[in-house]
């Protein structure tokens, strides 16, 4: 039953461009990008117990590095992508050393502060980042000579990357290391006594989450062909965090659903409602009241609990 549902979902996802218009294909592409981003944040929030309010840093750093390298320094997309992922991962490693001096609220505040620093730099160093104007006129890569300029082509590209990301992060969570991570989240002291190095486990996870945040950032800048400091802002981090929590943190599918929901409300509903933020708020209040652990765990419980 579960396999049939999964196969059906896969078929629908792959064939989507054949029955949906460009608007919906583009919406789906954005959802995929947001899903990768939310999944990477979920590694920290859900499985690591490290609530970060600065995860947009990694999306933004990757996007900015790629944008600068391809537009200003004329690098090819291949090497620019590698360098931006590398740069993002190194940034995450460095930020991790600083942020992991604390846990809980302290960790949250440090990640917030660090992302604000990057946001400030993107805004103020206008000779490099073009400040508030952002960097526009960017191009999409052409992997194996295939143009990604059509909505469908980009969608399939994003689908491949997102599927791979989902697989990698799910295996990560199910692995020995994932078990260590969950153990450190639940009982750090016991884990240390058992021979695990809690700090190192958190740090590696932080870097890994930064890496996938960077991957989503690359897709983000390819999709938009434009990057603006807003992408690095706290709002951007907070939206992703809301998505993770609404969908169900610490579950493999929750962040995907949550991210899709946020995007749907943001892009679709905002066309009809001026105050879409109010609706977003109302939806979250509803979720928190009815399904405090998130949509996916909530629905799973509902389906299982139903008398047969």
């Amino acid at each position: 039953m579960k396999w049939i549902a999964t196969a059906l979902l896969a078929v629908v996802l792959v064939l989507l461009p054949f029955f949906a218009g460009d608007f919906y294909i583009n919406l789906a592409s954005q959802m995929l990008i947001a899903a990768i981003f939310a999944l990477s944040l979920n590694l920290l929030v859900g499985y690591g117990g490290m609530t970060s309010l600065g995860h947009a840093s990694y999306l933004g750093v990757a996007a900015y590095i790629s944008a600068l390298l391809t537009s200003r320094y004329g690098l090819g997309h291949g090497s620019a992508a590698l360098l931006s992922i590398l740069g993002t991962t190194v940034t995450a490693a460095f930020f991790g050393v600083i942020a992991l001096r604390a846990t809980g609220l302290g960790f949250l505040m440090i990640t917030l502060a660090l992302s604000q620093v990057l946001w400030g730099l993107a805004y103020r160093m206008s000779n490099i980042t073009n400040g508030d104007n952002g960097i526009g006129g960017l191009t999409r890569p052409m992997p194996f000579g295939i143009s990604l300029d059509s909505a469908a082509a980009f969608y399939w590209f994003a689908l491949i990357v997102a599927s791979f990301a989902f697989l990698m992060m799910t295996v990560f969570v199910l692995s020995s290391f994932g078990s260590s991570l969950k153990g450190v989240r639940d009982q750090p002291r016991r884990m240390a006594a058992l021979g695990f190095n809690p700090w190192m486990i958190r740090w590696i996870t932080f870097i890994y989450a930064g890496f996938w945040g960077g991957v989503s950032g690359l897709l983000y800048v390819y999709y938009n062909k434009y990057i603006h400091p807003t992408s690095l802002s706290t709002t951007s981090s907070a939206e992703a965090l809301l998505g993770v929590i609404a969908g169900g943190s610490g579950t493999p599918g929750g962040p995907v659903v949550g991210a899709a929901l946020v995007l749907l409300l943001k892009n679709y509903v905002s066309a009809y409602l001026d105050r879409w933020n109010m609706l977003l708020g109302a939806v979250f209040v509803f979720i928190v009241l009815v399904m405090p652990t998130g949509i996916v765990p909530g629905l799973t419980k509902l389906l299982r609990g139903r008398p047969r």
Binding site: V171, S175, S176, S180, G183, R189, R190, A192, L194
Partner: protein, 251 residues
Amino acid sequence: MTSVVADHALEVINLKKAFGGLAVTQNVSLTIRPGERRLIIGPNGAGKTTLFNQISGDMPPNSGQIKLFGNDVTSLAPYQRAHRGLSRTYQIITLFAGDTLEHNVTLGLLGLRPSRWQMWRPLAFYGDLATEARRTLDAVGLLHLADHPVSEIAYGEKRRVELAMALAQKPRVLLLDEPLAGLSDTERSTVKSLIGSIPRETAVIMIEHDMDTALDLAETVTLLNYGRVIVDGERDTVIADERTREVYLGV
């Protein structure tokens, strides 16, 4: 390092610890032979658990030294001490409540294996870990509950999972912090025979208030009071000592 046969499994030398003005460990020195069974007794607040926390590395001492098999471990983190053969249980149950018993014990096994860093292979693929975890659960009589989450089992069973997690690591020095606390009479005798069956390669240091049970397991006894070692030696000598009666037995 391993080729050297040390005379002592654990040495604590002039250990001192104070919380502000309150001295909780005052010049404590202990030596434990490999395979020794040591019971640590003392009234509430004598500094027994604080001593354990310093030995395991959870708490840094103000001064003094801790040696495991002749190597100074005073400045090592808890996980590094675990890799040198030290294991412990907690007075307050510290388990992974949402996970199955098997997973709990598996974590104990994983902690000492390099495969704990493996990120690309699901844990379920390590069949040997599961087999070993189940064998350990069988040894503590909990195999039938292996697939149940810890949150669903009884208190006395949780105590045994605590023990199983530590035993799975085949430690050379095992610290047991009140393994009998809160158990019924039957459970008590189960856990007692369990501790009695720990192989001789393991030195066992146990904090326990239940003297009737614990004294049977002990070869040597240390009496702590106000953070000081009051009496230290062979079981019968310590029990017969007048100071023990005065401080602890209240006779």
